[in-house]
Amino acid sequence: MSGYLVRGARIVGGRPTDLLLEDGVIAALGPGLAYDGSEVVDADGLVALPGLVDLHTHLREPGREDAETVETGTRAAALGGFTAVHAMANTDPVADTAGVVEQVWRLGREAGHCDVFPVGAVTVGLRGERLAELGAMADSAARVRVFSDDGRCVADPVLMRRALEYVKAFDGIIAQHAQEPGLTADAQMNEGELSGRLGLQGWPAVAEEAIIARDCLLAAHVGSRLHVCHVSTAGSVEIVRWAKSKGWNVTAEACPHHLLLTDALAATYDPIYKVNPPLRSAGDVEALREGLADGTVDAVATDHAPHPHEDKDCEWQAAASGMLGLETALPIVQQTMVDTGLLDWAAVAQRMSVRPAQIGRLSGHGRPLAVGEPANLVLYDPASPHVVEAAGLASLSRNTPYVGRELPGRVVATFLRGTATVLDGRPAEHASTGARG
């Protein structure tokens, strides 16, 4: 028994069809495929999407294995419907050499839950002083194409210009964490009326927007590719829209939490809602949804940021920034974008698989669900409302703001090159998934 026969799945929400997954590819496709001895997966009523690709994941290994490991983080990713994640560079040691990115890449292969594409640091130690060996990371076994100092902004304009120029040699991209440091010293939450009332230091929208505007101009000037991480403000969406209208090579991502939650939650002083960039106003949420709908924002990225309990069970100012995202991303996109009529499932596939794979230059992911294509797909039940429980999460950490919230759907199965990583909503026993795409 070599494969899976998926019965009655609606490819990107279309008519029900069967898919035969064999030898790592989609071997046959169409209604009423003949039973050939493969394991049958009943997908009646389920939406089939190409395996999701996350441009922004913190797997914490090496260095903070108390928060997450490559193994646990990629298991969480598979449960969220992902077949590929980009592992951010702010580990300890920082992923700023070929050695570290290859280690992370190898750990991902060994875990086998989803493909791990390490992101390389732009600057040595994320210190923003001099370029890391970007070429060595690009040429390594990990074949790094996305570079980011995420967690910190490449604030120096000369360094940013040079980085953008340098990665052109290997078709790389700089993913910028847009945060002007001088405007955000000790910043705790979105700057607005509420930050003033709560006495929490403000993180003004302009600190994000000023860097994005500068970087768009720099990318245009040197003719390189810029990707903007976690855009969170209406103004950022406007600037990216303007840059795209010029034909510049600028892409952007938005996080599920910025599509759903607002800064009003800071009034609880519960650091579960502390994240960087911070939760913004309802108007920003609206603008982000519109930007994602019209394609100004290319991709949804989770910014999955695990933290140990003690780093969140404390004063807001002392707490770490960040929240889990992998296991809840797709239901939140359904709730905020599909159920609101802003996106159909084909467009969700674009935002969560096709575009992020293109931005990361991944050839084996984000492919259409068609005969001969890699069998990377997720089966999703959009009519399975359930309340999020912390104990049910695969991540080592529990810092999700969604506990107790009802989400509209759930991932039923995920396949990575024809191997089930998730079946019946639970991690599947898996063999090694072999070659990478």
């Binding site: 705790q188 700057e191 607005g192 009326e193 509420l194 930050s195 003033g196 009332r197 709560l198 006495g199 929490l200 230091q201 403000g202 003004p204 009034a267 609880t268 002083y269 519960d270 003690e310 069970d313 404390c314 004063e315 807001w316 100012q317 002392a318």
Partner: protein, 326 residues
């Protein structure tokens, strides 16, 4: 009744007036040879200070002792950078010791809120100043001082009284709590500061704002000067101390433009020569020293009411969870 005092916004007008009336009774105690009541005998009040503040701590300590409570002072210095014992563990320790009330001063905005709501402890929590958020007992003692000077006699109130709060509003928990409480009590508040020292979004607060101290002073019934730290100069909130004093300091010339009945207040500690000149601070209009003695009376009233001095004391119906305090 409410179990905690976390924000001046927790207080209804009736709550606040009850505190002021109770404080008046407590104040009369100061004139007696034995300045002590048995009201909180056998109860334990913990002063939990994560930030130095000698004057606030001794004010609470005196208040609790005059009510015959046992007082434990717990100084737990530490910042977000130098982590010591966590707030949670400190709280669990105090709970195990049987604290009835925890008076907390903390560098982090919202820390008292966390203490009251995280489920670590059953004690009543009194916010004695948290970060740049609030300092509700300071606002109560300020209101009490105004009330005694401007609303003496039964049935009088602060309705329509004009209070100018001048200085570093942005970083001031005193200004936030005063703005909230004084509105509740019917006064009209004007915040006066350079634009750099007013919070973003202040137009959404229920107050007036002004950049022009000279225009505000002749109409004010109360002028409250806030402490301004010299170090703010280094972060470009204002160019120099001298320029700040010229534009926003209260000196003898400016004092001469005040109405006859107008009082001058300062929460302390003052920086003489910065926001207030010595001749103003020591003038007949100054009630700065009286604020300190009123502080003890008001904190007695707060502890007394929170710890069951009266069932109708500080607020609405019982809420064991304390979950609606903000």
């Amino acid at each position: 009744m409410r179990r905690h005092l976390l924000s001046a916004a927790d207080l209804t007008r009736a709550d606040a007036e009850l505190v002021l009336e109770t404080a008046e009774e407590m104040r009369s105690l100061a004139d007696r040879p034995i300045k002590k009541l048995p009201a909180l005998r056998g109860r334990t009040v913990v002063n939990l200070f994560f930030e130095d503040s000698t004057r606030t701590r001794i004010s609470f300590e005196a208040a609790a002792k005059r009510l015959s409570a046992d007082v434990i002072n717990f100084s737990a210095k530490g910042s977000s950078l130098s982590k010591g014992e966590s707030l949670k563990d400190t709280s669990l320790t105090l709970e195990a010791m049987g604290a009835d009330a925890v008076v907390v001063r903390h560098w982090a905005s919202g820390a008292p809120h966390l203490l009251a709501n995280a489920g670590w402890s059953r004690s009543s929590v009194v916010n004695a100043g948290d970060g740049t958020h609030e300092h509700p007992t300071q606002a109560l003692l300020d209101a009490f001082t105004m009330w005694r000077h401007l609303a003496s006699g039964t049935g009088q109130s602060l309705d329509g009284r004009r209070v100018a709060i001048v200085g570093d509003v942005l970083h001031s928990r005193v200004a936030r709590s005063n703005a909230l409480l004084l509105k509740t009590l019917g006064a009209e508040v004007t915040l006066v500061a350079p634009p750099t020292l007013l919070p973003v979004g202040v137009e959404g607060w229920d107050v007036e704002t002004s950049y022009d101290l000279d225009a505000v002073l002749p109409k004010a019934d109360v002028v409250m000067m806030l402490r301004v730290q010299r170090e703010r100069m280094n972060a470009s909130f204002f160019p120099t101390v001298r320029e700040y004093s010229r534009r926003y300091g209260l000196d003898g010339r400016r004092m001469s433009t005040l109405q006859d009945h107008t009082i001058v207040m300062h929460p302390g500690p003052m920086i003489r020569g910065m926001e207030i000149t010595a001749d103003v601070a020591d003038s007949d209009r100054s009630v700065i020293v009286e604020q300190v003695s009123n502080g003890v009376a008001v904190r007695m009233a707060v502890l007394y009411l929170l710890l069951g001095g009266s069932e109708s004391a500080l607020g609405g119906p019982g809420d064991a969870s304390g979950g609606d305090d903000q």
